[in-house]
């Protein structure tokens, strides 16, 4: 049986740079991201998914609004989030936004839930980090109940009480909002995803990807252990794909490294050394190089980890417009067909 593979783009709406090197502002970046979605749609990529951040490096804090704009100017591409920080949001409002997007996009919306590795949204929206785990568990349960589409009867500890309440706009009968769960290196998150019967996408953003094999095994085992179905697995990673390998590496050093270091200051990561950066490109989790180099690496790691879905984070750290667009074009035109060929996907070869 041939596996169905899916390839998409992720972005946090990193504040970009014009080709003359001057920084874009947030407004320009938002319009650029919509243009990039149009390009991705034309190239036949399966999805574009947007992160939600609340800090100066990123323009997207309200992904569904941006996805709504994309819905109007694209035709086939799935429009998603990566991720929606459900813990610091109201599941009812999230449902309303995505069911609205469902209508606007002819059912191309999808949502990826995550605990969020950034925590800015908690104080911003008045949620307490003390309840991080409990909030997430309760709100996932509420989300799944909302997806049933029936009048809601709900009583939670952190969420509102609802009695026979219908949430609008309703999804057409029999339709749902495809939901996945983003996980990192926490065994508990993987088991939780299986428990909730939600497909997982693993963020593999550092080190040799094969180190995540035990977590993939854990996913399979958890399905058996809990007697739950398995879903296709996905992964997400950063990349820059240019025709000149050296240029790709230098763009990566300038932008990916800078972004990691900026975030690292808040998160307590040590600054990235050149040695570690090059290791991430050679053997680790950065997909930086020519289309052929990147395709080989993606195919190798998807095989090693049983992956059906690969989401490339493009534009990390901003980058010049032509570099962002070249990565997208190379990904769609060269990398994806080549990866499918390497994986033996006859449908699309």
């Amino acid at each position: 049986m041939t596996k169905k593979y899916e390839f998409g783009l992720n972005t946090f709406g990193d504040i970009g740079f014009h080709d003359d090197g001057t920084a874009m502002d947030g407004d320009e970046t938002l319009r650029q991201v919509v243009k990039e979605a149009v390009l991705a749609d034309k190239l036949g990529l399966d999805r574009i998914a947007l992160g939600e951040h609340h800090r100066s490096e990123f323009a997207i804090s309200s992904p569904e609004v941006v996805l709504g704009a994309m819905a109007a100017v694209t035709n086939h591409i799935k429009l998603g989030t990566a991720v929606t920080v459900l813990s610091s949001d109201d599941p009812v409002r999230v449902f309303e936004r995505f069911s609205t997007l469902h209508g606007l996009s002819h059912g191309r919306e999808e949502i990826m839930l995550g605990r969020g590795s950034f925590t800015e949204s908690f104080p911003l929206y008045g949620y307490s980090l003390e309840n991080y785990d409990e909030l997430f568990i309760e709100k996932i349960a509420m989300w799944q109940k909302l997806l049933e589409g029936k009048p809601m009867n709900w009583k939670g500890e952190f969420t509102q009480k609802l009695t026979d309440t219908t949430v609008y706009p309703k999804l057409p009968s029999g339709e749902t909002i495809p939901t996945s769960l983003a996980v990192g290196g926490s065994p508990e998150s993987i088991i939780r995803a299986v428990h909730y019967n939600i497909p997982v996408v693993i963020a593999i953003i550092g080190g040799e990807p094969v180190r995540f094999r035990p977590y993939v095994d854990l996913y399979h085992k958890a399905a058996a252990q809990l007697s739950m179905p398995e879903h296709p697995l996905g992964m997400h990673a950063h990349g820059i794909i240019l025709d000149d390998a050296d240029e790709a590496v230098e763009v990566g050093w300038k932008y990916i490294r800078a972004e990691m270091d900026r975030i690292g200051i808040d998160r307590g990561w040590a600054p990235m050394t050149r040695d570690r950066f090059e290791f991430e490109i050679d053997k680790g989790s950065y997909y930086v190089g020519t289309p052929e180099q990147v395709a080989q690496k993606i195919a190798h790691n998807m095989k090693a980890l049983d992956m059906s879905r690969f989401d490339l984070v493009y534009g990390t750290g901003g980058q010049l417009i032509h570099q962002r667009e070249a990565t997208i074009r190379n990904f769609g035109e060269k990398v994806v067909p080549r990866v499918k060929e390497l994986l033996g996907d006859d449908d699309n070869a």
């Binding site: 605990r115 925590t119 908690f122 104080p123 307490s128 980090l129 003390e130 991080y132 785990d133 290196g185 926490s186 065994p187 508990e188 088991i191 550092g206 080190g207 040799e208 180190r211 035990p214 977590y215 095994d217 854990l218 085992k221 252990q225 690292g264 307590g268 990561w269 040590a270 570690r276 290791f279 680790g284």
Partner: protein, 231 residues
């Protein structure tokens, strides 16, 4: 076969850090026991997958059987540990204050009293060393494995000179170069916010960063809070 001359290592907590340390220990033939707040039945298949070879027990049994106990649990859960159960044990405190699990405001430790001093005060009948704090759990494997000939410095601090040889042996057994910071209070420089936090570097580089700690923003905060350097 595990080498039975080694102290038995017990890991409390089977999350990112605990499961990673169990896997490293097993890959280096150390006898590892691990337990968490979950039942043995719920944890065993997880550990058998993530750290094959490690022995899953109840948390209480891990504490009872182990010679050296690594705390790989949230800092805010340490106060729930029963001190008597830990009497006369060596405890390696790998916890750090982490807002996502411990709460937005740190009401546990401060720049005056480091988190491991709080842990030692709670586990008063045990000999506590701060260790496994300053390196990200991914890097415990990634950075160690890609520098097989240059071990990464793993700093530790303790008020008990008699356990230094055991602590150093354990750190060495896990693949690190033990770096003695002295008494427990000096462990403050390993905590989140410090330039040493997150570092997986060799001894000489670590020593150099440590020597300049009071030039850093974190070092200046320490001086401001304490009216001077840690003494």
């Amino acid at each position: 076969m595990p080498n039975t001359d080694k102290p038995t290592i017990g890991i409390l907590g089977a999350g990112k850090l605990g499961s990673t340390l169990a896997r490293i220990g097993e890959s280096r033939d150390l006898p590892i026991l691990i337990g968490s707040r979950h039942s043995v039945a719920d944890l065993k298949w997880v550990i058998d997958t993530l750290a094959p070879g490690a022995t899953t027990l109840s948390a209480a049994e891990v504490v009872r059987q182990a010679d050296v106990i690594i705390l790989a649990i949230p800092l805010s859960h340490v106060q729930d540990l029963e001190p008597a159960a830990f009497a006369d044990k060596i405890v390696l405190d790998a916890t750090n204050f982490w807002a996502e699990v411990d709460g937005t405001v740190n009401t546990i430790s401060s720049l005056i009293e480091s988190s491991s001093e709080v842990v030692q005060a709670h586990l008063a009948q045990s000999k506590v060393a701060k260790a496994f704090n300053h390196m990200g759990y991914h890097d415990l494997e990634i950075e160690v494995d890609r520098h097989p000939d240059v071990p990464r410095a793993m700093a530790y601090a303790t008020d008990h000179d008699d356990i230094r040889p055991v602590v150093e042996a354990v750190l060495r057994d896990f693949g690190f170069d033990p770096f003695d910071l002295g008494p427990l209070r000096f462990g403050l420089v390993l905590e989140p916010g410090s330039p040493l936090f997150g570092e997986a570097i060799p001894r000489a580089e670590f020593a150099d960063k440590l020597a300049h700690i009071y030039n850093s923003a974190f070092g200046k905060k320490i001086i401001k809070a304490r009216g001077g350097e840690i003494r």
